[in-house]
């Protein structure tokens, strides 16, 4: 196949990727869009196969079977609640592939006389740097979300300094490569330092900030792939990679804005260390907590006019989305108006709660975004907080010393009664005290969210 024909066919793939993203603007067409994207990908793979397949075709086939088989099985088997870590994992391997390609390309151009052209050395230096950071960072994010390592931030003295030094090392080596210094060890140092930096930079980020991190790492892999397009002089990689890079960056900024924090603060703030002082203050002012039985809550719900569910990560952990939906149906049958208030950063991934509730077949007109939900709370009888914490913490409005001060929250305390379903009185993932629990309007229903909801269903039925 001629070079020009291949590039024209790649153009069709590019268009199909753009259409895939466009179709995502409407839930009714979104799935079709994804299929169009997949078809474009198949075309790109077939074209490439025809171009290069005469050499080592069997090796390519075996490698694709291994990787594709793993991807298909993992993606099929995974629970909906484990989606964030799956996305992180698939994102990481893409970044890893980009870094490996840089390594192989440098190896190819280096042997004497080897003078890589400007675009190739730019691509090699930077895609190795960014791809390796994305790979290592995504693996740590995966481990955190899968709870292989603790979700809390891990910090130590001088951390910023060490991270900075490692990153600058990687950056200097990669710039030297871009500038045309031809030494393979420079690339090795770039990759190793970037891997170390990726690990160290995600470790101190708390679980609650994962939506921002995952979407940023997604953008990183996109950029690494686009730069890979420079080193291979391939338009398809440049355009497709950069589409992802731009969209991931935009999504990251939107997430950070929803928390009213800068991206830098999310990444380097080591947000969510339990500050000793704050913990002491909270313990000191010792409000009382009212706890209730499921029966009490069932009565409240059944005789309410309007109930708003406020889901958080706890809902995902307990996998209680189907049970919540059942309870909501039961209440609706009794004439209660039910809706769901979704905070933009609830969960571990942008839009996480929407996906979970969609899985449970909650009709999406019932899902209210924050701006739409907040004015409603004043005429709400019962706000049911299911596994959410920081996104309903009134300290974000009132307490200037709170680390989340200024973050827009769901004002559940405007409603008549707040019911908080919670495992225990431990602070949430961000490790911050929540005065909502001490509010006289609030009752706590302790226990696993799924078990509590099931109990509520039984009690509402018996009324």
């Amino acid at each position: 196949m001629s070079y020009n024909l291949a590039n024209l066919l790649y153009l069709i793939s590019i268009v199909s990727f753009i259409l895939a993203l466009r179709f995502l603007s409407n839930p009714a067409h979104a799935r079709r869009g994804n299929q169009i994207g997949a078809a474009g990908m198949v075309l790109a793979i077939v074209v490439t196969w025809v171009r290069v397949g005469s050499t080592s075709w069997w090796a390519i086939a075996i490698a694709m079977l291994i990787g594709g088989g793993f991807g298909a099985v993992a993606a099929r088997k995974v629970q909906m609640t484990a989606m964030p870590q799956m996305v992180a994992l698939f994102n990481g391997v893409g970044g890893g592939a980009a870094a490996l390609i840089a390594l192989a390309e440098l190896h190819k151009v280096l042997p004497p006389p080897g003078a890589p052209t400007a675009d190739i050395s730019l691509g090699i230096g930077l895609s190795a740097l960014i791809g390796a950071i994305s790979f290592a960072g995504s693996m740590v994010a995966f481990a955190k979300l899968q709870e292989l390592i603790g979700g809390r931030p891990i910090t130590y003295a001088g951390q910023q300094f060490v991270n900075g030094a490692i990153f600058i090392t990687a950056l200097i080596c990669s710039i030297a490569l871009v500038a045309g210094v031809q030494d393979e060890w420079l690339l090795w140092v770039t990759i190793l330092a970037s891997l170390a930096f990726g690990v160290l930079f995600v470790l101190p980020i708390g679980g609650a900030d994962m939506p921002v991190v995952i979407s940023l790492l997604n953008a990183f892999t996109g950029v690494a792939v686009a730069l890979g397009g420079f080193e291979l002089e391939n338009n398809l990689l440049i355009v497709a990679g950069m589409l992802v890079g731009a969209s991931g960056t935009l999504l990251t900024l939107m997430m950070a804005r929803a928390m009213n924090r800068s991206v830098a603060n999310v990444l380097f703030g080591a947000f969510g260390q339990v500050s000793e002082a704050a913990a002491a203050v909270a313990a000191g002012d010792g409000g009382t907590v009212r706890s209730a039985t499921a029966e009490d809550v069932a009565v409240m719900l059944a005789y309410a006019h309007k109930v708003v569910f406020v889901p958080g990560y706890g809902l995902a952990v307990a996998q209680a989305q189907h049970d919540v939906r059942q309870l909501a149906d039961l209440l609706e049958a009794k004439g209660v108006e039910v809706s769901y208030a979704i905070h933009p950063v609830a969960g571990r991934m942008p839009g996480h709660m929407n996906v979970l509730l969609a899985e449970a077949n909650v009709p999406y007109p019932q899902l209210k975004e924050m701006d739409e939900a907040n004015p409603e709370f004043s005429r709400t009888d019962v706000a049911m907080v299911v596994g959410a914490n920081d996104v309903v913490n009134p300290d974000a409005r009132n307490n200037q010393s709170s680390p989340i001060y200024g973050m827009p929250i769901l004002n559940v305390d405007d409603s008549q009664t707040v019911v908080v379903l919670k495992r225990s009185m431990n602070p949430g993932f961000a490790g911050i005290e929540n005065p909502l629990f001490y509010n006289p309007k609030t009752v706590m229903l302790f226990g696993d969210a799924k078990a509590s909801i099931d109990q509520l269903i039984a009690d509402v039925k018996n009324l």
Binding site: I18, A20, I45, M64, L100, H107, V225
Partner: protein, 105 residues
Amino acid sequence: MIHNTILVFEVTILVLAIFLGIEVISKVPTLLHTPLMSGTNAIHGVVIVGAMIVLGQPDKSAFTWVVGFAAVVLAAANVVGGFVVTDRMLEMFKSRERPKKPDET
């Protein structure tokens, strides 16, 4: 200088792609942010094309062979996993127009 011409051309495409990406994505509702992320995740799996080109080179050294093989494995996992996960998510959004009132459980 001929090679710098290619570089300038590539940078042009890159910058246009940035604006295109922002344009297309800003129309996506919050409701679909997770599938969006997962969908873009699948699209950057296009790195498999690069990995295939590396592994498909004639006369490659053992080093390139191993690295290219690993790159194809990783990229294939990215592509297949990415599209399958996204499809599973979007499948759940499909028939929302239907009036609710599900059969009583």
